[in-house]
Amino acid sequence: MATQQIEIILSRQMADCLSIPVFIVDTKGNLLFYNEPAEELLGLRFEETGFMPVEEWSVIFKPQNEKGELLPHVSLPLVQTLIHKIPSHGQFWVNNLKGEMHKISVTSYPIIGRPKRFIGAVALFWKSD
C-alpha cells in the first residue's frame, strides 16, 4: 500500500472543507484525491474510485474549446504545472453529466515540500458561468 506524504494529506484536508472543486495529483498526474464538488464535475465518487491513474481519469475528463473541440492535454494548466513545476491558470469548457457545456477556470499550483521536494499538484476549478 502506498502511503501519502504529509503535504498531500494536509492538501486533502484543505480540499475536503472547500466548496469549490479541487483535484490533487501526484507528480505523474495520477489522481490522488478529488473533493465532493469535484465529484460533480467528474460524475464519479472518490469513495468508489479511490486513486485513479492519469490514463483513466484524463479520458473521463474532456476539456474543450468554445467550439466543442477537444483540447490537447499539454495545453491544460494542471499539465503545465506538472511539467514546469510552476503555478498556472487557464479556461476551457467541459460537459456536465446532462451534456450541458460549462465554462471553467482552473488555477493549479505545484506542491513543493521542504526542502524543495516536488510532490504533486493541486487544481482548483471555478465555474465561470
Binding site: 500500500m1 502511503t3 501519502q4 506524504q5 504529509i6 494529506i9 515540500g113 521542504r114 524543495k116 521536494r117
Partner: protein, 277 residues
C-alpha cells in the same frame, strides 16, 4: 537494541515530587547496540544521559525530530560536545530556506547560550534529512515529515527484525482523512507500521484536545487509536503534559484503557525505564 528513556515530559521540564514516577525531563531517548550510540532529541533528559556514557565512547549520533525548545534545551549541557576527541554527528529536518546549522546557531549563541556552535571542541557533521533513509552502523533509519508545526520528522529505527518508532510530537488526527480508519492517509503511519515499540505523543486529555486542534499534539485517546491503526506491538504514551502529575497520568491512562478492548500493549512512558527489542 536497547532503548532507554531519559526524558518523556512535553513542553517544559517540570520537576516536582508529584512527578517522581513518570519524570519531569523533556524528550530524550538513548538507543544502543554494541558500539552504536544513537540519541533521539536533546531535551533536558540529555544532561543525565551524558553522565552515564562509558568513558571510552568516541562516537555518538544525535537525531533531532525538530527544534522546538523542549527537544533541544539540554544540548548545551551535553558534556560530549566539549570533548575534542569525540565525534558527534547531528541529524535533523531540513527547512525550506534556513539550514539546520543556522537554526541550531540560534540556540548556541548569546543571549540564549554563552558558547557558540562553532566554539564546541568536538568533531562531527550536521546532516539535513527529510523523507530519507540512511544507515548508522547496522541500524536502518527512516525519517519522514509528520503533522506538527514547523519542520518536524519522526524516526523509524530498524535493527535486524526489531523496529522502534519515535514520534514524540505528533497530531495524527489532524494529519489524516477519516482518522483513525485510513492507514494510507494518516501522518506517521509509514513510520509506525508494525513497530515493536512506538513512542507517540499523548499529551492532552481528550476533552482538552478539542480546544487545541492544530497545536501539534495528540490526545491520549487518539494516540491509542494511532497505535492500533499502525498495528504496533507496544505503544508508549509519550510527551506528558507538564501540568499532569503521576496520579493524574495514571487516572488518564485508566480512563482511556479500561473500557476498550485493546489490540496492542499500551503503557505510559516512564523516565529511567529501558526496553530490549
Amino acid at each position: 537494541m536497547n532503548i532507554k528513556i531519559w526524558g518523556c515530559r512535553g513542553s517544559i521540564p517540570s520537576p516536582g515530587p508529584e512527578k517522581s514516577i513518570y519524570g519531569s525531563n523533556t524528550s530524550c531517548i538513548q538507543v544502543t547496540d554494541g558500539n552504536n550510540c544513537i540519541i533521539l532529541d536533546g531535551g533536558s533528559g540529555i544532561q543525565r544521559l551524558s553522565e552515564s556514557l562509558p568513558k571510552n565512547i568516541t562516537h555518538i549520533d544525535l537525531l533531532l525530530t525538530h527544534l522546538h525548545l523542549d527537544h533541544i534545551i539540554g544540548l548545551g549541557f551535553f558534556q560530549p560536545f566539549y570533548n575534542p576527541k569525540m565525534t558527534i554527528n547531528i541529524w535533523g529536518p531540513a527547512a525550506a530556506y534556513v539550514s539546520l546549522k543556522q537554526r541550531l546557531r540560534r540556540y548556541f549563541s548569546p543571549p540564549l547560550f554563552p558558547i557558540r556552535l562553532s566554539e564546541l571542541p568536538c568533531k562531527g557533521e550536521i546532516f539535513e534529512i527529510h523523507n530519507s533513509t540512511f544507515r548508522i552502523g547496522d541500524f536502518k533509519i527512516t525519517s519522514e515529515y509528520i503533522c506538527h508545526p514547523g519542520p518536524t520528522v519522526g524516526y523509524r529505527l530498524q535493527l535486524g527484525k526489531a523496529v522502534f518508532t519515535y514520534i514524540p510530537d505528533h497530531e495524527p488526527a489532524l494529519g489524516s482523512s477519516d482518522f483513525p480508519h485510513n492507514q494510507e492517509w494518516t501522518s506517521g503511519f509509514k513510520l509506525a507500521r508494525g513497530a515493536d515499540i512506538l513512542m507517540q505523543d499523548a499529551q492532552y486529555k481528550n476533552e482538552d484536545y478539542k480546544n487545541r486542534i492544530g497545536w501539534g499534539h495528540s490526545s491520549m485517546e487518539n494516540a491509542i487509536d494511532f497505535g492500533e491503526l499502525s498495528g504496533v506491538k507496544k505503544l508508549l504514551l509519550f510527551h506528558h503534559d507538564p501540568m499532569h502529575t503521576d496520579e493524574q497520568l495514571m487516572e488518564l491512562y485508566k480512563k482511556n484503557t479500561q473500557n476498550r478492548k485493546l489490540s496492542i500493549e499500551v503503557e505510559l512512558a516512564e523516565e529511567g525505564k529501558s526496553y530490549n527489542i
